[in-house]
């Protein structure tokens, strides 16, 4: 009786129609449609945009363009994969943009010793930053928002310190295995695209088919319930931020391999692109629901919009962020209204 806070006042318990199977009422069908929209809406929009654009712009539906768009999108996709997991756990990771840049510079620097160091060094450092985030959030109980804001600054600072305030640019040796990782392709599709796809496959399995994934949903859906069920809440949070750091570092390394150098100015604001893609992909920012597939479509949608605006040519490229911002509002407001009345009181 004492949990009736004013916030929960407006919600009457949902009418119960369970126990015995009952023919789908109108509200049930509407709810199912709403659920479908939330899960698959972004894919529908993406397909519509792609089909329409293919007819309108002959240069759009070419294999070359598809290759370009997918490679462009693959780095953000890897970062957004980690972000998806973090957001599902009810958190947020603002540090990924800086970590992405740091990972790139470290990879370019270490690539002089071969492929393995070029991957392991950024993974180790970026994983450590993620672990620090996780520790401060899960063990010290600090707000994810502010902790990762601080590590955003710290990672950028480390990056500058490592590059003599941005004066030094580390180059990836030409023709090295590491450069090939970024620039080569199989069947016309760049390695980064294949890596991203593999990671999304693994991420999907992790999320849907392992106990860790189930615990993530539980922690994000109801942290108290997860604790009372005896789930390892703190360890799960620790892991998810570490994963996010690792993925951002790996994405940075791939990007460096493609560009043949550790560019220091990349990744600014990338965290917000990643969050946008995650949200557009149907993952709830309050946590507890979402999918890596949706995020993949979200990233692709952002990339296609960018590409289209370039195709149109006459349009200012800034329209891209206007469109993304608009999408974001529509999606989050729609999510909010879909979620209303179906949460527990």
């Amino acid at each position: 009786m004492n949990e009736t806070t004013p916030a929960a006042v407006a919600q009457a318990p949902a009418p119960s129609g369970e126990g015995a199977p009952r023919p789908a009422a109108g509200s049930g069908a509407a709810r199912r449609l709403a659920g479908l929209l939330q899960r698959q809406g972004v894919l529908a929009v993406l397909l519509t945009v792609v089909i329409v654009a293919s007819f309108v712009y002959p240069t759009f539906a070419t294999l070359d363009n598809a290759r370009g768009v997918t490679v462009q999108a693959s780095f953000l996709a890897v970062v957004a994969l980690g972000m998806t997991l973090v957001v599902i756990s009810g958190g947020i990771d603002l540090s990924v943009g800086s970590v992405f840049a740091l990972g790139g510079v470290l990879a370019a620097w270490a690539s002089q010793w071969g492929l393995l160091p070029a991957l392991l060094v950024p993974l180790a450092v970026c994983g450590a930053i993620g672990l620090l985030n996780g520790f401060l959030i899960a063990r010290a109980g600090m707000a994810p928002f502010i902790v990762t804001l601080a590590t955003l600054l710290a990672a950028r600072g480390m990056l500058l310190a490592f590059t003599d305030e941005g004066a030094t640019t580390y180059l990836v040796p030409k023709g090295s295995a590491f450069a090939e990782l970024g620039q080569g392709s199989v069947g016309g599709f760049g390695h980064p695209v294949l890596v991203a796809l593999a990671l999304f496959g693994a991420g999907g399995l992790l999320l849907q088919r392992t106990s860790f994934g189930q615990t993530l949903f539980a922690v994000g859906g109801s942290s108290d319930a997860a604790t009372l069920m005896g789930l390892p809440v703190a360890r799960t949070k620790l892991l998810v931020y570490t994963l996010s750091g690792l993925l951002a570092g790996l994405a940075g390394a791939l990007n460096a391999a493609r560009l043949s150098s550790g560019v220091t100015i990349v990744g600014v604001g990338m965290e917000l692109d990643a969050i946008s893609a995650v949200v557009i992909g149907g993952t709830l920012l309050v946590g507890g629901a979402g999918s890596v597939g949706g995020t993949l479509w979200g990233v692709l949608l952002l990339a296609v919009i960018q590409n289209l605006i370039n195709q149109i040519g006459s349009l200012n490229s800034s329209y891209q962020s206007v469109v993304s911002g608009g999408f974001l509002i529509v999606v989050v407001v729609a999510q909010r209204f879909l979620a209303r009345g179906r949460r527990t009181t």
Partner: protein
Amino acid sequence: MAPSEAVPHAPAQGRTARPEGVTAPPTGDAVLEARSVSKRFPGVVALDDVSFALRAGETHALVGENGAGKSTLIKTLTGVHRPDGGELRLAGRPVSFARPAEAQRAGISTIHQEVNLVPLMSVARNVFLGREPRNRLGLIDFARMHRETTELLDGFGLRVDPRKPLHTLGIGTRQMVALARAVSVDAQVVIMDEPTSSLEPREVETLFRVIGSLRGQGVAVLYVSHRMDELYRICDRVTVLRDGRHIHTGDLAGLARTRLVSMMLGRDLSEARRTGPTGLGGAEHHTARTPVLTATGLDRRHQLHDVSLSLYGGEVLGLGGLLGSGRSETAKALAGVLGLDSGDITVGGRKLRRTGPAGAIRAGISLLPEDRKAEGIVPGLSVRENIVLAAMPRLSRFGVVSRRKQDRVVDIFMRRLRIKAASPEQKVGELSGGNQQKVLLARWLCLEPKVLLLDEPTRGIDVGAKAEVQGLIDELAREGLAVLLISSDIEELIEGADRIVVLRGGSVAGELAGDTVTESHLLDVLADHSPVPAGTDPAAQEDPR
């Protein structure tokens, strides 16, 4: 200890009055046992030297009013809290749980008061969270999970698609899923905290059937509920807690309901001796002829059914009932905080439009909420600002706060209510519970309300402050204010109220006035919870089939 004069139905007051060994079960029988367990929180002793034991195969009722320590005891047994003193024994061996996970692994399952499942996840995932079946690749085997969930729920007579997200199901079904989760772990002990509070009669029957089969399997069930008829129907023994102390453990059969209720509500004799009678006058107030506030047919699904009452100026109307009877909900509905499905509220002859708390305040209704911390004080603000919070617009000109007017009001009320603070500028979070409560009373009184709704105004405050608050209630009624008093303290209610409306299960169960405002009458109405036949339950009638 002498037999109580204040509580005639309860000769056995306190632990010492009960002969040891008669009611305490032999240790060998006990699956789960608490020995002299204590738990303190800052400012509160939640459990004070509580011992009790749960036998295999029994269904054991745990009862007590708010603040009695039931939740704390459950949380201590299940590893959410660690006891400050005493020990837990599982099957005779001392145990200590650092986390809920450890208690669960030891075979103690819990269904908490608010269903503690994850609403966005599917039924099957909720049942198997943390122990999902795997296939050879180490991945979750959903086919098996769904199959086993269906089998499990079939056993409860429940046909639900295990793939359905939990939030699409009704509360009753969710409770069943929680139960399925609890029993599917091969628990030795299942703890149920108010499992039937949101169930339909049909679902209650299913629950009882499941409890029966658990009993057959030798599982011990600790059953927390306020529904007397349920307790008497399914429980073997009962343990009563009050104010964090163990009051009684014994067989339920043969224990009179009034006696049980009086043990739950009764005041400790030694405390009554020390403090004397309550600060309430106990005398009749001079009551006006026409009601200030009338409520007719207040209805809110699962919480209130056709509650009607009138409140006259100059009287204290008591609102009685056990926990979960709809007392607080009625007060919140009157104050515009809780929405209603139907029903009318009239203040001073004018019908109250449903404009939320602000509208009710404008109409002259003030509510002192039950949960002081969560809904009352703003801890970071000073005593002064907490007092004038609701009255601020009246004490300002052009949006600028008039410090002079404020100080005058604050000064008046700090004196009148004898609020003890270093200064009006002290942060209210630093005050004692009693003084915080007085600050909240001041907040509402400085609005000069016509109707004052007090929800447990003296709970959790020290004895001195309690008497002062009670004295103030009396004084306010004498001045002509209409006061609605909700209290679990039976003595406070009897002495303080001119009339008492008793609620049970969200409806009005009776009204006591004049000579009938006595403890025995109240206990009779409270305890006489005649079982509701399944067909006549108002909730059941809504179902077309």
